[in-house]
Amino acid sequence: MSRVVEIPASLDDRSFEQFAQAFALGSMTDRMVFDARAAQWASPFGLLAMLTAGQAVREAGGPAPAFTVPLAEEVRRYWARTGFFQHAAGLFDLKGRLPRVRPDEHSDVLLDVTPVRASEDVHAVVGKIQEGAARILHGELGLEAKATMGFAMALSEACQNIVEHAGTGGWVAVHAYTFRRRLGRRVVVIAVSDAGVGFRRSLEPTQARRFGDRWGDGAALEAAVIQNVSRFRDPGRGQGIAGIKRYLTRWQGKLSIRSGTARIVIVPDWDDDAPMTEQLAPFPGAQVQIVIPAQEGAGA
């Protein structure tokens, strides 16, 4: 009998916890069904989380989970347009009719779901994003033209975390949409996710002793995100996340990183998220989300 992992109707970084709990309820080698029939929407973070779960199952040697696609036609079309199904097909046994969609150069999908495994992938992502990012960040969100370069830098550094630390491949996606619930403004969201070793295992050899009894997923995230610590002894390391934070401070952006059982957030003024949450359901690898909001007075 298969274990059912229900996909929340609206899957984003918050409802992700429901999904992670359901996913963690048994072994990764269980026969599973990811039930997305009731899905109405998924953020790039949500789309990558589902792929990451599928990747983790495959890497654990489990049988490919079945994946029942959303019943709503417009949801299926949107997910297809993001490139989700194209990659999901390699990880899941997809059940349901998939739409054929043509790429739309002017859509809100700035970067469709893209695998990141090596340095060349980061080059390709950065090369591909710049024109679309300029259109959205400057044209719609009202950021200065130079914000585009910083945005691409933040994207590059976030993707490099996979190449440098995950020990396996991952995914990146960038979408623009209106953040109605918390902000009421347009945002651009970068999501990066991998099914790799996570921050705790990456930093354990060099940092665990320093933290003593406090050592865990939360302490590892604190070391990496607040103290800019890296697993490498090279003193030049650890600047990637520091650079992302610097960029986000300038543009009132938000950074959240979830790894293992903890989640850390650099919280901007417009949000009330918890800076650190621990004892969450375990989830493989690391999931990064960067949110850049429209400047006040720009495209709501």
Binding site: M153, Q160, E164, Q239
Partner: protein, 177 residues
Amino acid sequence: MRQTIRVEQVLRESVCTPYRDLVTRSTGRAVRCSIQQALAAGAPVVALLDFSEVGLVDFSCADEIIAKLLLDGSGGTFLMLQGLREEQLEAIEHVLSHHDLAALVHDRVSGACRPVGRLSADHHAAFESLQAVGPATAPALAERIGWNGARSAEVLVALARLRLVQVEHDSYSIPLA
């Protein structure tokens, strides 16, 4: 002797990429090694690293190229950066500050240089004086700026250690001047 190194060309030759962005550590390492080879072959007094055709420069790549070239000493060559856009320079300055380093930025149009990185007001004042008025010994600079001799000597030694000025027979000067 002065040598100009077009960084975008080095990128294309070292990494065989269709892109002109300096991103990722592995790209940075490849570009730095190529630059080090060029410096070893040419042994110039001053090397101008020209970023004119380069797109994005991320922190990791800036660290691998600029910070490590400066930390390595570049075989005695004075490094100058030119053709940088504001956002590129910002990434480089972030990396320099992280390492307590400084670098020279050369303006192709005016021919002037300016130091960037973690520098004090005294460092900037001494550098500006050497550039505007010309080479000076520590006592001469002290008199020129109205400092005492110890302060002047300390600042000039620091600038020389950061390889922002050259020193010959106790006289300090800007490398390209």
